[in-house]
Amino acid sequence: MRALLVLAVLLSAPLFASAELIPVLGGALELSTFPAAPRARDTVTVRAENVLSPGNTTFVWRVNGAVVEQGLGRSAITVTVGTLGAPTTVSVSATENGIVRAQKTITITPAEVDIVWEGNTSVPPFYAGLPLTNPSSTLTLSAVPGIVKSSMRVPANELVYSWYVDDSRTALAVGTGKSSVVMETPQFANPFTVRVIAETRDGTVRAEAHADIRPVQPEIVVYEEAPLLGLIFSRALGNVFHLAEEEVTLRAFPLYVSRLDAPAYAWRLNGSPIVDTSDDGRGVTFRKSGRGGGAFSVEFSLENASLLFERARTTFLLTL
């Protein structure tokens, strides 16, 4: 009888063991971070993933070996990471009924990358502002990384860069040292986003950045060119220009166009074309003749036959 009882217990043992082996995890325990690629001194949320029943699971969190958080259902913590390249180790154990079901450790190494860009377009001489991109132009983007590993800054040309536009999963460009790209505006005048991921070759340190770019329409800015003062870049012509002297020379500067020699330029006075302009068509001289005053509509336009969006027009009133 006793033997039968022992046999029954032995045969039923797997049933009890099976009940204890019901998984609380949907897969291997993983840790996710937000942001995914933290920068220096970022506050990062670290979350345990693949836990089916977090409310029934006790988590113990350690940061750099020290317990910082523990308790039933505590499936996420926040941690402030250090400077560039300074690793922060985060580990978690998931326990149910006193039994450690899984453990996971990750190392967060802050890194950063910036996107600096410029339109491959024209601006006036001495202009210290950014050339913007127009719907037809190209632009150049450069990734400037700040990635430190083992206390050494990783040279920019030794990192792997992956470039993406908007939500595309297909990379615009990928490669070691591919820290810059030249691209066309993807959707004419619509704003777009460019993302870059810069990472070490072994993938252990990674940085991400994105740039939201809004193409602008080309413009024209007109300056007076005085005989002795030269081009007066400090004062662009507004809606009205009063001709106080006997004559004035004006010069138009296309803003944010791809090539200055491509467009067709035209000056008009009260709607009629002005033939006598500078050799490149962007300068014109107005002279008083006779007496009296008046107001004249002056227009300068540019049009690029091969680039749909590279056209612009400006008008002002010339008064005497």
Binding site: L130, P131, L228, L229, F233, L255
Partner: protein, 407 residues
């Protein structure tokens, strides 16, 4: 005999008539040192050494005389150049009576390229060089005798280094040599080295060289051409070119590597303090402009109590977080800093002394009240002693100084 007497009488009458019309048309100078425009030069051109007590060639006409004597007291806010100037420079000098040490000022007249010298304790100006070079757009000063002028030939920028003879007495001609023209450049606080960005095909090369053009060495190459260089005693920097609403960045150049100082700020325009410790920067999106100061040692950021574009400010001393700024009374609707840089927008500034770390600001001048003129501060600088604030009034390109000693 009778005929002679008649002719003499006619001649005398003509002189009296001319003198009468000169007297009623010559403008006067107000307390700020500004000439009230107009003809001005008629009497001055007839009597170039201020004969009769009239003004000496004021208004917007170019200064054409070797000595422009003016014995009136110097106002705190002073229009140094009567007409457009390409830029001015402070230098140390002894005052004539040897009492208080005055600060010398030299400035370049834009229309002629002539160099004039005056001082902070006198309104009298003396022409130093009479070589005519019109249309100077920019001047970079190493010292009072060595500077670089930049002007346009067509749309090509020409860069010429001027060397004046320090031992020369009286007027002298300009000597010098042409340098390779850069797109943007910055001088170090010691005024020995130039950090310049040269556009090269697709992209740029960034080079350091001595002021005389020697010792050229490349320190960085980039696929971008629009970098803005800056320097401090602590090193060389590159900033991204500013645009309204576009995040910008400031990097320190170190061994061909860019190391970020601060960034991710819309419309970013930085000014680095001479020591390199502080970065004053403005942010801009549309016509919303902000001014802040970043301390690179403590990594703290301080908001300024007043907002302006950072390039309208100059650090008062080498290592203090205090700046003298032109602060616009308002920012009209527009996109900044683009519109200001393009000359589409003009401001009327008040001049303040600001310490963002304490949140304090002291009003230094109200130009529209003090001098009856709207001033838009550009190219600001403070002299080595921290006593004078110099700047170009972008509205008419005249060169001004403001004494900071009253504070």
């Amino acid at each position: 005999m009778r005929r002679t007497l008649i002719l003499s009488a006619i001649a005398l009458a003509l002189v009296l008539i001319v003198g009468f019309f000169a007297f009623i048309t010559v403008p006067s100078q107000n307390g700020s040192g500004e000439a009230d425009g107009g003809a001005g030069g008629l009497f001055g051109s007839l009597f170039p050494f201020n004969f009769g007590g009239g003004d000496a060639g004021g208004g917007d006409a170019p200064l054409s005389d070797e000595l422009l004597e003016d014995t009136r007291p110097v106002p705190p806010l002073r229009k140094v150049s009567d007409g457009p100037s390409a830029g001015g420079f402070f230098f140390e000098k002894e005052s004539d009576d040897g009492a208080e040490e005055a600060v010398g000022i030299r400035f370049v007249e834009r229309q002629t390229g002539h160099v004039y010298e005056t001082a902070t304790d006198t309104l009298t100006a003396r022409r130093i060089s009479n070589t005519t070079i019109p249309g100077i757009e920019e001047v970079v000063w190493q010292n009072k005798n060595n500077f670089i002028i930049r002007y346009l030939e067509g749309e090509a920028v020409r860069t010429f280094r001027v060397e004046l003879d320090a031992a020369a007495e009286g007027e002298q001609s300009v000597n010098g040599s042409f340098l390779d023209s850069w797109d943007r450049a910055a001088l170090d606080p010691a005024r020995e080295e130039v950090l310049a960005v040269f556009e090269a095909g697709s992209g740029s090369r960034v080079s350091l060289f001595n002021f005389d053009g020697s010792g050229l060495r490349s320190v960085f190459t980039s696929p971008l051409a629009s970098w803005v260089p800056l320097q401090s005693a602590n090193g060389a920097y590159l900033a991204s070119a500013p645009a309204s609403g576009v995040p910008g960045f400031l990097y320190r150049l170190s061994n061909q590597t860019l190391i970020k100082i601060v960034g991710g700020i819309s419309g970013f325009m930085p000014v680095v303090s001479p020591s390199g410790r502080y970065v004053l920067y403005s942010s801009a999106d549309g016509n919303t402009v902000g001014l802040s100061l970043y301390d690179t040692e403590s990594r703290e950021t301080f908001e300024s109590p007043l907002d302006t574009l950072a390039v309208k400010c100059a650090f008062v001393s080498t290592d203090a977080p205090t700046v003298a700024c032109g602060v616009p009374s308002e920012f009209p609707k527009g996109a900044y800093p683009n519109d200001w840089l393009l000359g589409r927008a003009a401001f009327s500034d008040d001049i303040w002394l600001i310490d963002p770390t304490s949140g304090l600001a002291n009003l230094l001048a109200l130009p529209e009240v003090d001098a009856d003129v709207a001033i838009d501060v550009a190219n600001p600088a403070v002299d080595a002693s921290g006593a004078y604030f110099g700047f170009i009034n972008k509205n008419d390109l005249s060169f001004w100084t403001l004494s900071l000693k009253q504070q």
